[in-house]
């Protein structure tokens, strides 16, 4: 099984997950500080900062890009309910 690692910097927890996992699928289970609203990529509540490893995330969809823009996102921001980790090691934190 292809795997990836995600570190949730705010709680100092690193998880090994199957490649293709969306961050929402793990962050709540481990109590990371990412918070969610609609969980469908519309409200922007779960916007997070990619500290490193953004190249290991799937490219944002048109929908995610639109919501990021509407929420004045910076270049390092992604939506945790949408972002899929494909491999390697990604470090994230709320914000």
């Amino acid at each position: 099984m292809p795997k990836a690692q995600v570190t949730f910097e705010d709680i100092n927890v690193t998880v090994t997950v199957p490649a293709g996992t969306r961050l929402i699928e793990v962050s709540e289970k481990i109590g990371a500080g990412l918070t969610y609203g609609c969980r469908e990529g519309e409200c922007g509540t779960c916007m997070m900062k990619i500290v490193s490893g953004s190249e290991h995330l799937a490219t944002p969809s048109v929908l995610e890009d639109k919501v990021l823009k509407e929420n004045y996102a910076g270049v390092a921001n992604r939506l945790a309910c949408q972002a899929q980790v494909l491999g390697g090691h990604v470090v994230v934190r709320p914000g």
């Binding site: 709680i11 090994t16 709540e28």
Partner: protein
């Protein structure tokens, strides 16, 4: 046209030269948006701003009052003069007349914030010409001829879409719901209406308070402005000493309670309620565990002896919350839910949360409370502790560990952990 400030049916009211109130009065309203009571009804304030090259309409009214709005609007301009429609806030009480206005003035462009875009499609379901929609930011200028509209980015006051519109030449701030209140008085201006201080503060406490940090950011933008008049979307128009209302917001946005820890320590509040003393003993263990962590001040409260109001004030300033509830008939008990359902009045997003409790049969309360805490956007960094009936010493030590770990999260002293979600039984790691 009224020149006295008193509102007459079908007539606009001049609030500045060539600037008119074209809103509607709703004096009989006693409950607004389910959550707010009002002894004085409310008003839906909309405005028309005339420049040498055209008119801007700022906000509209609740749908049932569209007739009043259009009667006033068409008394001060023709439909073909409208070149701009500005929406400071898309809630239905301000956009009810929008579809009809868009049809009446098909040449007018619609100016609104970027977050408002997707809401607009939920409000105007058919016939929306996207070419007319212009999202704005702080660099946008709408020239009316001798008057220029600018926009202040003031989101979350109290929806993501909210903004203020500023006319620098006249010192006019069209503030949306900010500085508004539910107080209907046909004399309209703050120096003529009855005493509305209670309504002003009540509105802040119930509408703006959960967004305190956004209020403070907005005040940083508004305070430097040379305000001559503040025109909110509800309640009296603030032409006499408008800056005093800005100062009042600064006061209201200060914490209600002086946090004794003063930012030097993190604060953890343990709330519990106990039928036979078992959940209480667990609460004491949670407290003892948390108190062992340097830099954390722990407080404990029995929900059987307090009302939600003062607890909400405490919670607003706390860093972490733990709730202890027995399970009765498969649920947490009512005093716990009463407090948890009161937390929408304050910002709790990002605080650390946890739960524990004793049970007889099935112990659902802990999981239900944790779900509620997550729903409120708290961080629940570790599973709570459930104990069947009387806690053993080992189970009390588990409670102490819960308190200790929550406290460690508060001070950022959490040991690095690795969890392998690809391994069997990963969730118990």
């Amino acid at each position: 046209m009224s020149r006295t400030g008193a509102v007459r049916p079908g007539e606009p009211v001049a609030i500045a030269p060539d600037v008119f109130w074209v809103g509607a009065l709703d004096p009989d309203l006693r409950q607004f948006d389910i959550i707010l009571r009002t002894a004085n009804g409310t008003s839906y304030n909309a405005y028309a701003v005339r420049g040498s090259e055209g008119i801007a309409v700022i906000d509209t009214v609740k749908a049932e009052f569209a007739e009043d709005f259009f009667a006033r609007l068409w008394s001060c301009c023709r439909p073909d003069e409208i070149r701009a429609i500005v929406l400071n806030h898309l809630e239905p009480d301000h956009t009810g007349a929008l579809p009809a206005l868009l049809k009446a003035a098909p040449q007018a462009a619609l100016y609104l914030s970027y977050p408002a875009l997707k809401m607009l499609k939920g409000l105007v379901k058919e016939g929306l010409d996207e070419a007319r929609i212009i999202p704005v930011d702080e660099d946008t200028r709408v020239e009316l001829g001798g008057r220029t509209l600018r926009f202040l980015h003031t989101p979350y006051l109290h929806w993501p879409d909210t903004q203020c519109t500023w006319v620098e030449e006249d010192g006019l701030l069209f503030s949306g719901d900010v500085f508004g209140c539910h107080f209907c008085d046909s004399r309209l201006f703050n120096d003529r209406v009855g005493d509305f201080r209670f309504s002003f503060d009540y509105y802040y406490q119930h509408i703006m308070r959960p967004f305190r940090e956004h209020v403070l950011t907005a005040l940083d933008l508004i305070e430097p402005l040379a305000l001559k008049l503040v025109a909110p979307a509800h309640g009296p128009i603030l032409r006499d000493a408008p800056t005093s209302y800005v100062r009042r917001y600064r006061q209201l946005a200060a914490p209600l309670l002086a946090n004794e820890a003063g930012g030097r320590e993190k604060t953890l509040l343990v709330f519990y309620i106990s039928a036979y003393g078992n959940t209480e003993r667990m609460a004491q263990a949670v407290r003892n565990g948390a108190e062992g962590v340097d830099g954390v001040r722990v407080s404990m409260y029995d929900l059987a002896g307090g009302d939600p109001g003062p607890f909400v004030d405490l919670i607003e300033e706390a860093d972490g919350l733990v709730f202890g509830s027995p399970t009765i008939n498969g649920d947490a008990v009512k005093p716990v839910w009463d407090l948890l359902s009161s937390l929408t009045l304050v910002k709790v997003k990002g605080k650390v949360g946890g739960a524990f409790g004793s049970y007889g049969w099935s112990g659902e309360a802990v999981g239900l409370v944790e779900d509620r805490l997550r729903g409120l956007k708290l961080r629940v960094p570790r599973p709570g502790v459930k104990v069947k009936l009387i806690p053993t010493d080992e189970e009390l030590e588990n409670c102490a560990a819960l308190g200790r770990e929550l406290a460690e999260h508060l001070v950022g002293r959490v040991a690095s952990r690795h969890i392998d979600f690809t391994a069997p039984n990963a969730l118990t790691a």
